[in-house]
C-alpha cells in the first residue's frame, strides 16, 4: 500500500517550483537593474570623456576653450579639502566613539546622545551647507575658504565615522579588555594598547568610505558659495578654492556640447580618486581583518 500519491505530490511540486523560479528571476532582475544602470553610466561617461582626459587636462586651469580646459584647480582644491576633513573628522569621530563605547555609562543622557548621532546621519547635506554658511563662513568670518568648507564637510561625515568607529570598537572581544585589566593596565592603557589596535581596520575602512562621500558631495559647497571660476591654487587654509564636483557641475551646465565631454572627463578624474580611496579601504580591511 502506498501512503503517498506521487502524482499529487508532483502536481503540487511543479507549482511550487515554478513559483520559486519566478521569484528567483525577479530578484535577479532587481540585481541586474543596478548593474546595468552602472554599466550604461560608465559607458556613456567613458566614451564622452576619454578623449579629453590627457595630461594637459590635469595640469591646466579651466578655460573657455574646451580643448584647453583643465581640472588642476579643482583637483588640488579637493585634495586640500580632504587634508582638512580627514584629520578633523577622524579625530572628533573616533574620540566620540571611544567616549560613547568605553567611558559613557548607560543612562538617559547618553542614550539621547546616541539617538541624535543616528539622527544627524540622516540630515540632508544641504542643511549642513546652511549651517556651514551661517557659522563658519559668516559668524566665524572664515570666508569661502578651504577651512570653512572643510569644517562643514567634517560635520557632514562625522556621524558616519562615529557609527563606524563605535561598531569597530564594540566588535573587540571583552575578554581582551579584561585580560588587559587583569595585567594591571589602566583604562587609558587598555584603550590605547588593546582596543584601538584591534579596532583600527574597522575605523579606517569606515572613515575612508565617509571621506569618499565628502569628496563627491556638492550641495554644501553650492550653499557656501564656493567659486568655480578661478585661475590659482590655494596656498593656505584660508585661501579660496574650488572643488571637483563644483567644477564638473559648472561644465555640465555650459551651452557648448564640447563642455559636456569636458565634464565627463572631470567625472572620470573624480571617479578615479573615489575608486582609489575605496580600494585603500578594501585593502586595509583585507589585510587586518582576520586577527581574532
Amino acid at each position: 500500500m502506498r501512503y503517498i500519491d506521487d502524482t499529487v505530490v508532483m502536481k503540487r511540486m511543479t507549482k511550487r517550483i515554478t513559483f520559486n523560479k519566478i521569484w528567483k528571476a525577479l530578484f535577479f532582475l532587481a540585481t541586474t537593474f543596478a548593474l546595468v544602470t552602472l554599466a550604461v553610466l560608465l559607458y556613456r561617461i567613458v566614451t564622452q570623456g576619454v578623449d579629453y582626459l590627457t595630461i594637459d587636462f590635469l595640469t591646466n586651469f579651466a578655460s573657455r576653450f574646451a580643448d584647453k580646459a583643465g581640472i588642476k584647480a579643482a583637483l588640488v582644491g579637493s585634495l586640500w579639502l580632504m587634508a582638512v576633513v580627514a584629520p578633523v573628522s577622524i579625530i572628533l569621530g573616533v574620540g566620540t566613539a571611544i567616549y560613547l563605547e568605553e567611558y559613557a555609562k548607560k543612562n538617559k543622557l547618553n542614550d539621547f546622545i546616541r539617538l541624535n548621532i543616528s539622527n544627524l546621519a540622516g540630515v540632508p547635506s544641504i542643511v549642513f551647507g546652511l549651517l556651514g554658511l551661517t557659522i563658519f563662513v559668516r559668524m566665524m568670518g572664515l570666508g569661502k575658504s578651504v577651512l570653512a568648507a572643510g569644517l562643514t564637510m567634517s560635520l557632514l561625515i562625522l556621524p558616519v565615522i562615529i557609527v563606524a568607529a563605535q561598531e569597530a570598537i564594540r566588535a573587540v572581544p571583552n575578554e581582551q579588555r579584561e585580560a588587559s585589566y587583569g595585567m594591571g593596565a589602566t583604562k587609558w592603557q587598555t584603550i590605547v594598547h588593546v582596543v584601538l589596535p584591534a579596532a583600527i581596520p574597522g575605523i579606517l575602512t569606515g572613515s575612508i568610505l565617509a571621506l569618499s562621500r565628502a569628496i563627491g558631495e556638492t550641495a554644501p559647497l553650492v550653499v557656501i558659495g564656493i567659486p568655480v571660476i578661478l585661475q590659482f591654487l590655494p596656498n593656505g587654509l584660508l585661501s579660496q578654492f574650488t572643488a571637483l564636483p563644483m567644477q564638473i557641475y559648472d561644465w555640465a551646465k555650459r551651452p557648448q556640447e564640447e563642455f559636456q565631454h569636458v565634464a565627463a572627463a572631470g567625472i572620470l578624474v573624480l571617479m578615479t580618486v573615489l575608486l582609489l580611496m575605496n580600494s585603500i579601504a578594501i585593502f586595509i580591511r583585507n589585510k587586518f581583518q582576520k586577527r581574532y
Binding site: 589596535p197 567659486p227 578661478l230 585661475q231 590659482f232 555650459r254 551651452p255
Partner: protein, 324 residues
Amino acid sequence: MKKWKYLTMTAVMGSALMLGACGSDSAQNGNNAETNAPASSGQDAADEKLQGAVAGDGSSTVAPIIEAVVEEYAGTQPDVKVSVGVSGTGGGFEKFIAGETDFSNASRPVKDEEKAKLDEAGIAFTQLPIAYDGLSVVVNPENDWAKDLTVEQLKKIWVEDGKEKKWSDIDPSWPDEKIVYYSPGTDSGTYDYFDEVILDGADLAKSATLSEDDNMLVQGVAGDKNAIGFFGYAYYLENKDKLSVVKVNGVEPTNETIEAGEYSPLSRELYTYVKNSAMKDNAAAYDFVKFTLEHAGDMAEAVGYVSLPEEKYTEALKTLEGLK
C-alpha cells in the same frame, strides 16, 4: 602593535606629503599661468605687477563671459587671485549684501528690495553694463504653428491663470494639445527679467519645469512637440539644430537685431555691480574691473553673446575711473 604604529606613521607621512605636493604646486602657479595665457590680450600688459584678491559671484548667464575675462586676466596679472562663484543673479546679490564679494554679476537690474538691503548694509555700489543678451523663446522644431508670437500671446501662454492651457486656447487654429513649459529657476535673473517684461510681475505657469541648468531646458523642449521654453541667446545658438526660435513681434533674435535694440523687449543688458569701496581701496579689484570693461565686448562675442556699442564701454570706463 607594530602595525598600529606603522599605520599611524603612514597616515601622518601621507598627509604631510599631500600637503607638500599642494605647496609645490602653488609655487609653480605663476609660471603656468603665464605660459598658458593666450597671446591675444597681451598688448596692454600692465607695467606694474599687482597683488591681491578679488571675489565675485552672480549670474550663470554672465559666467561664461567672466570666465573668459578671468582666464585672459590671469595672463597679464598672474598674482591677482580672482575668484568668481556662479550662484545666480539673486544668489550673487545675497552674497554682495553680506559683504562677501567685490562685484556681483547680474542678468537683470538690481531689485528695489536688494537695493534697500544694500543701503542698510552700508554698501555703495555702481552698475556697469558688460554685454547684451537676447533672451530667446524656443519651441520644438516640429512645432509649425508658434513661429511668431506677439508679447500679448507670450503673456497669455506663460501667465498662471489657475487652469491648464492648451495651444488652442491661445489661437483656435492651433492644435488641441496641452502646453508644456520649461523655464530657468527662480534664482536666475533670466526668470526675473522674463517675468517682469512679459508677465508684468504676474505668476508664471505653475506647471512649468524650472531648472537652474539651461541644458535641461534645451533637452526638455527638444524632446516634446508641445513644449515652449526660454533662456539666454548663447544656449539657443549652441542648440540651433535641435530647437526653433520664436520671433517676438516679428523680430528674430540675431546679433544685429539684439545690438540694434530691435529685438525688443527681450534683449537685455548684462551687468556687473561693483562695490565702490572695493574699487577705491583694492587696486587689484579696480584693475580687474577695468580689464573686464576693456575686454568684455570681445569675450562676449567669443562665448555667444552680443557686444555693446563701443561708446557704452567708454562711458562705463569713465564711471569706473570716477570711483577710484
